[in-house]
């Protein structure tokens, strides 16, 4: 019998993701993939590579067909299975007609639901990841909607979930490597950038997380006509009106706004989980130290 899940309620911008779409930046396609890669990886319980990424408001679904196992990881959510409150961050077997409800809780932006099954959508350019900006991958390039029925291709060779070690998400200091345009900013601006707090704005999405610059660190900076260079996730760009934006997994492939720095890979997952109105600080790190440091 075919197994599937039927979506009965869903947050905005819930998407199918995997580890991303690689080696396509020169064709104008960024990698996409889970916003919090470490949390996504924790939920891997079979050889299946894809999973569902949800945002704060969560998701409800019903399981149809044969049983399946599901791992719940990422930001903090309340989980109800057939109405019974269950601990988040665990693997549960789900039988035919099981109702699953995932509701917002204390912290974080992105949660993950992975099954011992591949989500039955066609890989596009080698990946099932959804790129909402371009409309590629996942379910016809769009977000998951109510009444969607997503097929599950069960992988019988299940591995247990690694002990759900909680990654420490509380730290609000993020390490960055000085960027390709750091020298275009005055010494004063750079000093302020590494000492003043920034606030995550409500406008966050898979393309980028915008910051409020309450201390006016970039208010007086006017940097014009830079030639476009390729972008990477974690780049901290300063827009024309002085708004800093941290580029995330669905970033534009190239850009000409000045980049003061790039958040290191290890810290970007934690940054993705900082909710709007959180205070964050940036701390420079040398490339050498960033590459040698263990967790």
């Amino acid at each position: 019998m075919k197994t599937s899940i039927k979506i009965t309620r869903v947050c905005p911008s819930a998407t199918i993701q995997d580890n991303g779409r690689f080696n396509l930046l020169k064709y104008g396609v960024c990698a996409s993939g889970a916003m919090d890669k470490s949390a996504f990886e924790l939920g891997k319980i079979s050889s299946a590579t894809s999973g569902i990424e949800i945002t704060q408001a969560g998701i409800d679904f019903v399981v149809k067909g044969d049983g399946v196992k599901a791992a719940f990881t990422g930001a903090d959510f309340s989980l109800f299975i057939n109405g019974k409150n269950k601990k988040w961050g665990r693997v549960y077997p789900l039988k035919n007609d099981t109702k699953v409800q995932v509701q917002p809780r204390t912290w974080g932006n992105y949660g993950y639901i992975r099954f011992n099954a591949e989500l039955d959508v066609e890989p596009i350019l080698g990946s099932r990841s959804t790129n909402l900006t371009v409309g590629l991958g996942g379910i016809n390039g769009r977000a998951i909607g109510v009444n969607d029925e997503i097929g599950l291709l069960i992988d019988d060779d299940t591995t247990p979930m690694t002990a759900y070690e909680k990654i420490d998400y509380s730290n609000n200091i993020f390490h960055f490597i000085w960027g390709i345009h750091a020298d275009k900013f005055s010494q004063k601006t750079r000093n302020k950038f590494v000492s003043k707090p920034f606030i995550i704005r409500p406008q966050i999405n898979r393309m980028g997380h915008r910051l409020s610059d309450k201390s006016n660190v970039f208010a007086k900076e006017k940097i014009l006509s830079l030639v476009s260079d390729p972008l990477v996730a974690g780049d901290i760009q300063i827009l024309g009106d002085g708004t800093p934006i941290v580029l995330m997994r669905d970033h534009q492939p190239t850009g000409g706004y000045p980049r003061i720095g790039t958040i290191i890979g290890k810290d970007l997952d934690r940054f993705a989980q900082k909710r709007p109105n959180s205070e964050v600080f940036f701390q420079p790190i040398s490339t050498q130290r960033a590459q040698n440091e263990k967790d």
């Binding site: 930046l25 064709y27 104008g28 030639v227 476009s228 990477v232 780049d235 490339t287 590459q291």
Partner: protein, 217 residues
Amino acid sequence: MNILPKIMPLGDSAALMRFSPMLDGEANKRAIEFAKFLVTQNHPAITQITPSLVSVLISYDFAKISYNNLIGELRLVYSLMPKIIGEVETKIHKIDIVFDGEDLAEVTHNLSLSIEEFIELHNEKSLRVLTTGFAPGFIYTGMHPNELHLPRREVIKPSVPAGSVLFAAGQTAITATAIPTGWHVIGNTKFLNFNTKNNPPTILNSGDLISFKSVKK
């Protein structure tokens, strides 16, 4: 001219090799050629090579090579690169354009040319694909002669469809997906440089030559 590129870290997993701080024809060629040459080296730690207007992004696995060692190897590869450009055969593509864009009249007026004169000058010589990658399948071609140089528009159009032929800053660009743009729309083409059924998904590459032809709708 011997161009000495600047190498900078871009985060902990990429390096940017920049051949000029501004748009420059020689630096553009050098960046494209270097990216092609680097691909042929099959470096085990390099995961992605992305040429851009005057730079090349080199993504790598720092578990396999440190940034400092990578810089050394990139400089070595650059020194081994043939100094004479053009050993690789350049592809020439023909693209048909319907010159009927909503900004064409304004463009020709600002250039003090008739539409016929503009089309003739625009198509006169083959243009090079300067870079790709701004959006899926999007290409920039250049450079036009000086009498065809016009700045961008002041107001950004929220969306132009795939196949739009855009014009500004001495260049002609072609969209392959719907995008916002600050460029002038001078026409459209049926040529679509992006197809997810193919891998690679595009036909045109940086450095290719494009010959434009004016066709009726």
